[in-house]
Every structure is written in C-alpha cells, then in structure tokens.
C-alpha cells in the first residue's frame, strides 16, 4: 500500500496552495490597477485581502477538523444550506429587506451587519460534501434507479439557486455531478443516455418561459459576433465586445501593470468581477493569460493526482468534486470572456473580487489539502471495490 506514489501525497498540497495564492495575487493586482489613481485608496483590493485572510483561516480550520469529520457533518450542513436557499426564495414574496436585500433585482445575499454571505457560493462546497458522503460506499448507482437520489441531491439546490436567480452557479452543479458519478463508477451508458436526453431537452428549455429574454439575447450575441455591426457592439454584444477588445489589445506581453487604458477610464463593465480575466489579459497579455491557465492546470492536475493516490473513497470523491467545480467555473468564465460561451454572471475562482466566492474556493482548497495530508495507514479496503458479479 505504501508505495512511492503514496509518499508523494502530502507534498501535493503545496502546488495547489501556491497556484491558488498566485491566482489571488493576480486578481488583487488587477483590481488594484482598476481602482488605482492618484491618491486613491484601492478599497476593493483591501477588502479582498481581508477575505483572503478569512479564506486562509478557513483552510487551516479544515486542516484541523479534517475532511472525514466534515463528511460526517455533510448532511446537517446541506440541510442548513437548503434552508438558507429557501429563505432567499421566500424573500421575493415576503419582505426581509434588512437581512435579505434586493440587489440588481436578485436575492443572493444574506446580510448580517458587515458580513455579506452569498449562500450559493458555500452551497457549492456543501453540495460536494453531501454528494461525496452519499456516494462513497454505495454500489446501487450502477443501476439507473440508483441514480435518482444523486440527481435529487443536485436538482434541489440547483432549482433553489436558479430562483434567486443565479443561473451561473446553478449550472455548475451539473458537470460536478456527472464527473463525480463517473469517477464513482456509474455506468457510462447511463451517463451518456442522460446527457443525450439533456441535449435533446436543451432546445425545449431555450424556448420555454424559464429562459429570460436577456439570456436568449446573450446566446444570440455569442453566435453573432459581428464586430463591425455597431448595433451588436452597443447592445447585445456590449460586454463581449468590450472584453474581447480589452483582451485582444493586450497583445502578447500586455499593456503593463496599471498602464492599460481600459481601466483608466472604466471602459470594462464588471472589471473586477466577472471580467477580471480580461483585465489580466489587458495588462499582462497572452503571457498573463497563460499564467492564469497554468495555475488552474496545476490545481486540477494536482487535485486529480491526489484523488488517484488517496485510498479513501470520501477523499477521492471530494477531491474530484472540488476539481470539477473549480475547473468548470474557470472554463466557463474564461470562455465567456473570449467569446466561446454565452455571458452568465460567473466569477473566476480565486481571482474575482467577492468575499463568499473567494472563501468558498479556499475552503475547497482546504479540503483538497486535507485529503492529501498524511494520516494513519488506512486499513479499509481499496475504494469502490465491490463484487463485480452483481
């Protein structure tokens, strides 16, 4: 059991942490550049530093508690999150203004004094915990009926988050579910079947009243990237055009730190948040973008390696889930910035400003590192070994 690979395990936590910190540093610099001016204090970057501190504390706490203990708490936590999400949905009907204010026509935050909690960000982590806890020793998901429960676990928070509304976050849960099921050993033909059914349902969903007109508009804008059309540029494709120009004008080596004209004059919408990737590309060019992508690759590759080395099924599922969700989020965000994905309000993990998102990401990293940490030799059987004869 204790081979060279297993010895590698405790070391693998470090690259993940370093890559995450690099990403956050890049995000902080980008936000600072967007805000900086003559004698101006960068308020957002300072705030983000505080959030980073909280995130790192959370990471330490996870190390102390250990992911197994967390796994035991998975269902109560999941229940708590569901209650909070229901509260957010209810807030639309009942006025809970001091605690749940309406911001940009959405109800996503619970405000307790100076603390703003974006529940859906924590819901992602808790969802992974719960799903991993559910899947860890089960075999019945190799039947199609056995898949019902994992799907129910997914669709419940998804629907609630969709009601906030926060399409981006709710969509993230689906690829995570598929990857975790896949790794846990669900039958490929089942997964493919469900995927195909989903694809077939997509057009129906597109034309159903569930889709907002502005969301359809964004999808249309994606397929109609005609940059010479002023109407497209100024309306449907406004965000996309701006972000593409910001990225493209960065060129190979970028405009230089705080030099890019784009954030000197506030030309990028949501520059510190959803479009921070464009800010990085504008400042540091192709090189900067490569560094960001490399960091994600390091995190995901290390995470998956941890998953493959660890012998604990819960650890493995947790590691895969965290990787999947981070990977999906990063792909969708960068994809929308460069015009490969429709624009949804999705932050770039570790990089974008926003407390809850950052803290949740570091909690995820904490889980990864916790899985990687050495512990007493495991006497359990190898994960997912069950009688193939069934």
């Amino acid at each position: 059991m204790i081979g060279p690979r297993t010895r590698l395990l405790p070391v693998l936590g470090w690259p993940v942490l370093i890559a995450a910190l690099t990403l956050t540093a890049l995000g902080l610099l980008g936000a600072y550049a967007g805000e900086a001016g003559p004698d101006v204090r960068p308020v957002k970057a300072t705030k983000q530093l505080v959030h980073l501190g909280i995130g790192l504390t959370g990471l330490l706490v996870v190390q102390i508690v250990g992911y197994r203990e967390l796994g035991r708490w998975a269902y109560p936590l999941f229940g708590l999150i569901l209650v909070l999400l229901v509260l957010l949905v209810v807030a639309r009907k009942i006025n809970l203004a001091p605690i749940i204010p309406e911001r940009r026509n959405t109800f996503r935050w619970i405000v307790l004094g100076p603390i703003n909690i974006q529940v859906s960000e924590y819901a992602k982590i808790v969802y992974i915990l719960a799903l991993a806890q559910y899947l860890r020793f089960r075999t019945n998901y190799r039947t199609i009926r056995g898949l019902l429960m994992p799907f129910a676990l997914t669709l419940l928070p998804m629907g609630l988050i969709l009601k906030e509304p926060d399409l981006g976050t709710s969509i993230l849960l689906l690829p995570t579910l598929f990857v975790m099921l896949f790794v846990a050993g669900a039958k490929i033909k089942h997964l493919v079947l469900i995927l195909l059914l989903g694809l077939l349902a997509a057009p129906a969903f597109y034309y159903s009243p569930l889709m907002n007109p502005y969301q359809k508009e964004r999808i249309k804008a994606l397929f109609r990237q005609d940059e010479s059309d002023v109407g497209w540029r100024q309306n449907a494709g406004y965000h996309l055009y701006r972000s593409k120009v910001a990225l493209g004008s960065g060129g190979f080596s970028g405009q230089g730190f705080t030099q890019g004209a784009f954030f000197r004059h506030d030309l990028l919408p949501e520059e510190h948040n959803d479009f921070i990737f464009a800010v990085i590309g504008h400042q540091w060019g192709f090189v900067g973008c490569m560094v960001v992508l490399l960091c994600y690759l390091v995190i995901i590759a290390s995470g998956l390696t941890i998953a493959s080395i660890t012998t604990d099924p819960l650890g493995r599922l947790l590691a895969v889930g965290v990787c999947a969700i981070l990977c999906a989020q990063a792909l969708i965000n960068t994809g929308m910035t460069i015009g490969l994905m429709p624009i949804t309000g999705m932050s770039l993990p570790f990089v974008s400003m926003g407390g809850s998102g950052l803290i949740a990401c570091y909690l995820g990293v904490g889980i990864l590192i916790s899985v990687a940490r050495p512990r007493p030799i495991d006497i359990a059987r190898k994960p997912f070994e069950y009688d193939r004869s069934e």
């Binding site: 007109p213 120009v245 493209g248 960065g250 004209a261 192709f286 992508l293 995901i300 998956l304 490969l340």
Partner: protein, 741 residues
C-alpha cells in the same frame, strides 16, 4: 478501480484548455494589432462638434441681409439631461474615486450628491442667464423627447430584426452628445457659469453661432423667416439623416419659415468635429463646412422704399390695417420686392413675440404678399375678358349698353357707378369695359360663359396651365388662394353652381380669393403671354416653367392690354386721375374688392374635462390659453365673436373695401408688373392708384434702371411711331408674336 477514469477526467480540462489557449492566441497575438486599434476607438471621448456657419442671405445686388456670427452656447451631456441612472452611477463612482472629500462615501450618498449637483446646475443656469427655470425645463424635455423618440424607433426596428431587449438598453449615438440648453450667452454669463460650474463634467461652454439681421433686413422680415428648433419629425424625414455630420441633431436650429426654410438645404452646411481620446490627445479633426449663401432676387433698397410708401399709405386712415405689394420682373420673373406691412424687427420678434401675435387687428406676423388671400375685385376683369375670347363669346366691336343697373328692379346687380350716384357708362365695347371697369359688361359675359368655364380659365391663368401645383415660389407661407372651380365648389363649399356665380366671378367677387403675388403674376403673364413661376432665390436650382395658356389669341391679349392702357392713360379711365405718370406708359387696373369684416376678438370657451368649462375673451386662441394658464392642447368647445374690424362706420353691413391696383409698364416691351393691395383702403382708384403710381415712380428713380422714362424709349426705339399709341401697338409689340394666332 476506476483510476483510469480519473485520467479520462483529466483529459477534459486539458482539451478545453487547449481550445482556450488557441482562442487566446488568436485574439491576442494574431489579431492583437487590430484589437489595439479598436481599443483606441473605444477610448475616444464623445465627439466635440464644431458648428458650421449657416449660409448668408443676400439681396440681388449682394447686400448682406442675414448672416451668422460666432457665439457661445451652454451645453449639457445627455445623460445629465435625461437623468440616466447608469450615467449618474458612473459619475458617482468617479466622484468617490477622484475627490478625496468623498472617498469612502456610500454609493447612495454619492448618487444623491450627483443629483444635487445637477439640480444646482439648473439653478445656476437660471440665475446666471435670467431664463426662467420652466423654459429651461421645456428645452430639456424637448431634447429628451426627441432622443427617446429615436430610441423607440431604433428599438422597434431591432425588434423586427428579431432582437429582444428592453427599450432602455438600446444605446444611441445621441446618448453621448452634449445639447445646447442656453444659446448665445453674454460674456458675463459665461464668466459666471465658468466660475460656478467648472468642476462638473456634464456642462460645457461650446462654440456656436447666432443669426444676425442687418439693417436692410427689416422690411424683409416676413420673407427671410426664422430659425427654430428642429422637430423630431423633421429629423426623421431628413434626406441627409444618414450622415452623422450633416444630419440634424435634436435641439439643432433649422429654418422654420420664409427663405430660411426654403433655402434650408443650401444654408445649413455640415458640422465638423474634433475627437480626442480620454487621455486628452487629439485624434481626429474635421473642420465644419459652412452653408452656402442664398442670393435673393429681391432688391433690398427697392423693398425698403416700397415699404415706406405702403406704411405711409396705411397710416393715412385708421381703418386700414395693412398693405402689401409685389413687384415682378416680367422677363426673368424675378420677384424684385415682396412687401408686407406692418413689419417687425428681429429683436421685436425675439422679445415681443406675444405682442406681435396678439395684435389681431394689424396682424404684423402675417406675410400678406403670399399668405393672405383677398377678393381680387375688378383686377381680374382682363382675364375674364380673355376667357370670353377663348370661348368666342366676345366680339371686340359689339357694344353693351350700361345704364347703371344690370337687371331692372334688382337691388344687387349694379355697375359701380350706381353706388357713387353716377350715371351708367352708356355703350361699352370690349376695350371700354376694362377702361371703365364696367360691371354690367362683365355680368353679361360671366353669365354667358358660366361659372365653370370661367373658373377653369382662371385656374389656368393663376396656377399655370399644365399643373396642379399650388405653390409657385416654394415658400411654406404661400397660400393657394381660392379659385371656385367645379371641384372646389362641390368639395369645399358643398353646393352646386348657382346662376349668379358666373356674374360674381367675372368681376372677382364671390368666393374667389387670390394673394398679391398671384395678382402680380397675372399681370406679368398678361404682359408676357406665357405663364412662369415667380422666382425668389436667384441661385436656387429650380425647374422653370414657361407655358402657354390655351385658347388665348394675340388679338384678345392686345385688346385686354389696350384696355389696361386706356384705363390709366385716357381720360375717363378709372385710374386716369390717380395712377397716370407723364413719362411712363403704365397699364393697370384698379379694383375695390368687397370684403367681410374680420374677427379681432373672440370669446373662447374651453373644456377642462368633467364638464367644467372656462372662457376668456382674447384676440387669439393662444392668448386665451395663456390667460387661463391652460396647456396647449386644451380643447376649445365654443367660440363667440366679440369684436370685428373695421367697425361699421355708417350702420351699413359691408365694411370698407380692399383697394387694389395691379398693372405693368411700359406698355410696349413691358418689363415690370406690380400688384398693390391696401386692406380696407376703400376705392381702388383713389387709394391704391396713387400708391401704384408712387411705386412706379420709385422704380423709375431706382439706380438699377428697371424702367426708363418714356423720352428715352421714344428716342431710342420708336422714333418713327406716332403719338397715337393704340394704332401701332400690335405691330410694335415683339411679344405679341409669342402668342397663338
């Protein structure tokens, strides 16, 4: 188990990553330079427009009438005008970032501060310029309305193209512009505004122009017209609306009346612009292209002289409310003078517009020469004679006996001599009928011709033979007059021709109405033999018409013209005493047109809704609304006449007649045609005749030699001819050969 699956999972991000990297490479490395250019474009600050100078208006000899002078406007950014929320948020953000005093303030505080600043800006503008706040608000609302209208139409078009988006998210070029809210500010106002509003990014003081009228322009006030804010409909219908520099912008000023409107396409020019990027470097500059000058056919000094003559004529009698005169060059059809009295100055128009508007008695704003329709009276008699010739109902030699009344025992159908207590004209032939203006002759002619044939011929003569066109100069003020043709009678008057109509129309009474310009054009046509449109702008490319009038023989025209000649130059002619000049052979005709008294005060009753009404006694409906502080669209449900002008002088029903004189000169080789009308002037011969003579005198005295004294003509052209003009007239008249045999 399933460790292979982990490797499969790893391939997904790797593949996606490769796609991402390829796309990034394409964007940043392959197309990097082109995006760099686009970034530069995106960095451009809103364009700074440079206004062109509007073209000048000159008279026919190049005298300056109206021109533009540089001035300064206060302009405000559209976002601040419309209180656009996202713009205010952006400003608030910038304020919080750039101003140390506001650092750390909450967004709502910052937004409140920005709103407060905009409010203070309006107050400062009000105090600095002495413009009441409500009129500033009106301007702002006008601009916003126009822009929002454009936004709606763009939105509708995009919806038709399949875009679904809320109306507010449509962005327009117009959103990034500054709009004038205060025009032509004085240096003091400028200093004050610069001092008090310098820190606000949404207010600017920008160069603009103001329109300046020269001293020569005053008698031309009606013709020159005015500028006004361009309406949304006009922006939409503008043929140059696709050119961002040439098109109108909401809030722009364009000609709304007179020559300013007629020559708009020549005068308006094209604005230039200056583009700076947000860092302050000038990126692009295009100078404005000034508008073209418009040269009128009007002689400004002649115009002023005639205006003086008419003003003194109007001043002679308190009943006279106004006068008008048109002078046409017969050869070129240039309008040499287009006078309308009373007139006003540009300053008066700007400052005392309401006073001018509410003067219902004198109506100074009315452009009488083209926009007021009068009963023509006897001055149409030569045309009805021509109509008689056309239909072979007139024998030049045949005589009609006039004993003063047409139908025995009738109280209405008399010759004009009857009203003056004079005996009838006795035996009257065709020529004599014009010379004496004998109504009896024309009653008979009109009856035999019948109203339809007569009015058809009038229409040919006044509007031109082949055209349904009603406006001849292109001025928007110009009115068509009323020729009671069959169509008009059935559609507008909603009746059938009566037996008496022919008689009435033959002497220019009844429903028939023409403008002074049309009257002058009738006489020019008579003198020339063909119909042409009068011309007002000398350098305006315009289709010329030169059309013959069907069925008019040279012989008929000669008889009519001889009648006109004898009317002025032979003892017994109606204009002999009043209009004859020794050294010019004027041919002309007087007219005393019966008219109705005009309403000068009314009781307007308005419906306020819910059955409530309110009334006011006022000269105009606008004035009544203002007196009651009602909005512009309040409906008036009842009008009662309170006062008419002129008041009945002698308990008779009919007020004093309009006095006409129309004619041309000289008799041979006619060069100038004129028409004069003096409202409520009384007898045409006594009032308008002398005025016509004075005007011909002024034309003789003019340094531009429109007419030459007879001695000159005799010496140079017709030395051999005898003094007996009538005998040789036909053979000497080169224009007579133009006419149909």
């Amino acid at each position: 188990m399933f460790e292979r699956r982990l490797k499969v999972v790893l391939t997904i991000p790797v593949i996606c990553g490769i796609i991402l990297i390829a796309r990034l490479f394409q964007l940043q490395v392959v197309f990097g330079t082109s995006y760099q250019q686009k970034a530069d474009e995106a960095l451009l600050a809103p364009r700074h427009f440079l206004p062109p100078l509007r073209g000048r208006i000159l008279d026919r000899y190049g005298r300056l009438l109206v021109s533009d002078e540089p001035a300064l406007d206060v302009t405000v950014f559209y976002g601040a005008l419309s209180m656009n929320e996202s713009y205010l948020q952006r400003l608030a953000k910038r304020l919080g970032r750039q101003d140390p005093r506001w650092r750390g303030a909450s967004p709502s505080e910052l937004e409140a501060e920005i709103e407060d600043r905009i409010r203070r800006m309006w107050l400062t503008l009000e105090q600095a310029s002495d413009t009441p706040l409500y009129s500033l608000r009106q301007r702002r609302d006008g601009i916003c309305d126009a822009v929002e209208r454009i936004r709606r139409s763009v939105w509708k078009k995009r919806q038709r193209d399949g875009y679904e988006e809320p109306l507010e998210s449509v962005r327009l070029r117009d959103d990034t512009w500054f709009y004038s809210v205060l025009r032509d500010i004085t240096p003091e106002v400028r200093t004050r505004i610069e001092l008090e509003l310098s820190g606000l990014p949404f207010v600017r003081i920008e160069p603009s122009v103001r329109r300046v009228w020269s001293a020569d322009a005053r008698p031309l006030c009606h013709l020159l017209g005015n500028l006004g804010e361009v309406s949304a409909r006009r922006i939409d219908g503008d043929p140059r609306k696709d050119d961002p520099l040439a098109c109108y912008r909401s809030g722009d000023r364009a000609g709304v009346s007179g020559v300013e409107y007629l020559g708009e396409m020549m005068l308006r020019g094209k604005r230039g612009y200056e583009e700076k990027n947000l860092d302050g470097h000038r990126k692009e500059f295009q100078p404005p292209i000034d508008g073209l000058d418009v040269q009128l056919t009007i002689d400004a000094s002649l115009q002023r002289r005639i205006a003086e003559i008419l003003e003194s004529a109007v001043a002679e009698d308190s009943h006279r409310t106004g006068a008008s005169c048109v002078v046409l060059d017969i050869e070129t059809q240039d309008v040499l003078a287009l006078v309308s009295v009373p007139s006003f100055s540009h300053e008066q128009f700007k400052k005392e517009y309401r006073v001018l508007r509410d003067d219902a008695k004198r109506r100074p704003l009315l452009f009488r020469a083209v926009a007021e329709e009068y009963q023509p009276g006897s001055i149409v008699k030569p045309i009805s004679l021509l109509a008689g010739f056309k239909h072979q109902l007139v024998d030049p030699k045949a005589q009609v006996y006039c004993d003063g009344s047409f139908i025995p025992e009738s109280t209405f159908w008399h010759c004009w001599t009857h009203w003056k207590g004079l005996p009838g004209h006795g035996y009257v032939a065709a020529e004599d009928s014009i010379m004496h203006s004998c109504n009896i002759y024309f009653y008979g002619l009109g009856q035999r011709l019948n109203a339809q044939r007569l009015t058809d011929f009038y229409a040919d003569f006044i509007y031109g033979p082949d055209s349904r066109r009603r406006s001849t100069t292109g001025l928007i003020e110009e009115r068509a007059g009323i020729i009671p043709t069959y169509d008009w009678i059935t559609k507008k008057a909603k009746r059938k021709y009566r037996r008496a109509d022919g008689r009435n129309y033959a002497i220019g009474q009844g429903e028939m109405q023409i403008t002074p310009l049309q009257a002058a054009n009738i006489y020019a046509t008579l003198a020339r033999g063909t119909y042409r449109d009068p011309k007002i702008i000398a350098n305006h490319p315009r289709q010329e018409r030169d059309e013959r009038i069907q069925g008019v023989s040279a012989e008929a025209v000669r008889i009519a013209r001889r009648g006109l000649y004898r009317c002025v130059n032979e003892m017994g002619g109606t204009a002999y005493k009043h209009a004859r000049l020794d050294h010019l052979t004027i041919c002309g005709k007087t007219g005393s047109a019966q008219c109705v008294a005009r309403v000068v005060e009314m009781k307007y009753t308005f419906d306020l809704g819910d059955g409530e009404t309110e009334y006011a006694i006022a000269p105009t409906i606008e004035n009544a609304r203002e007196m009651l502080n009602l909005p512009r669209n309040t409906k008036c449900i009842r009008r009662e006449v309170m006062k008419r002008w002129p008041p009945n002088r002698t308990e008779e029903k009919t007020p004093q007649t309009h006095a006409w004189f129309a004619g041309f000169a000289p008799y041979r080789h006619p060069r100038i045609a004129i028409a004069v009308v003096i409202e409520h002037g009384g007898s045409g011969g006594q009032t308008a005749g002398p005025v016509g003579r004075t005007i011909f005198g002024a034309l003789l005295e003019s340094p531009h030699a429109y007419l030459r004294p007879i001695s000159y003509v005799q010496d140079n052209l017709i030395k051999s001819s005898s003094v007996d003009e009538t005998a040789n007239a036909a053979s000497l008249d080169p224009l007579a050969t133009n006419l149909q045999p």
